[in-house]
Symmetry: C2
Subunit: 150 residues, 2 copies
């Protein structure tokens, strides 16, 4: 199995980052996958007439970036998503460089639950923040499972 | 402007639904947009070796479906996403018919904030639930803006 970090590898304060530059194709792709074809996201002429004064990304694209960071890096493959809170603070636009950050804030050893502060930043300002809880695999259990499978 | 429901149109208990049948292309598209190419989502042979015993959708795909329901129907265009909590309870698989539901649970007239219980169900069981807060436009303010623009 492809394996990220185990519960035993995690400490409070540990963090991971990823950077995405939002492309037109990302917004079009998110519209297709979600079914949200609101012209605020897709039609510049229309979006220019709204209070946003131009196209913005779907807010949940930030959720997709955060989930990818957790699933890919911290804790990475083998972890299971338990919950995610997202607070949408500022719009994200085409061309924005989005820094996605996750920082471990608490570890519940008994439940193997890890809490992380999660955020998407654009030019140093918070576009989206919130909190994730993931279940991280225990090393001893994984090693027993591998021994049993061998 | 394309306009959904106004704050004044909303009542506690009001609800909306959408149905998505998850296709392979949706999961591949979500992987491309999010950057989460974990083989648990993309590679059936690998996924069969995991505790999920087969490919599952990215959990945040359910978030995308919920955001699309809010943006498209309740309250619809013109509303602004404030926050979303997602609790991931059960995996969603290719071929699953996902019923996405949002129900108004509270209305804060002063802040124009609407709270909705949000859920994705598969075969009557909750795959994902949680709570959304959106800002709904006020009819009077929209009419003044239109009169000002005329």
């Amino acid at each position: 199995m492809i394996q990220g970090l185990y519960l035993e590898d995690l400490t409070v304060g540990q963090s991971a980052e990823a950077v995405h530059v939002v492309q037109d194709a990302d917004i079009v792709g998110f519209a297709e996958v979600s079914g949200d074809n609101n012209p605020l996201h897709l039609d510049e002429a229309y979006a220019a007439t709204t209070p946003f004064r131009g196209r913005i990304a779907h807010g949940m694209l930030a959720g997709a970036y955060i989930s990818a960071l957790l699933a890919g890096k911290l804790p990475g493959p083998g972890s299971i998503y338990v919950s995610q809170k997202l607070n949408f603070k500022r719009p994200i636009r085409i061309g924005d460089e989005v820094t996605v950050r996750a920082t471990v804030t608490a570890i519940d050893e008994r439940q193997a639950h890890v809490t992380l502060a999660t955020a998407c930043l654009v030019k140093g300002k918070v576009a989206v923040d919130g909190e994730a809880v993931v279940n991280a695999p225990r090393r001893a259990r994984a090693e027993r499972a591998r021994a049993g499978a061998a």
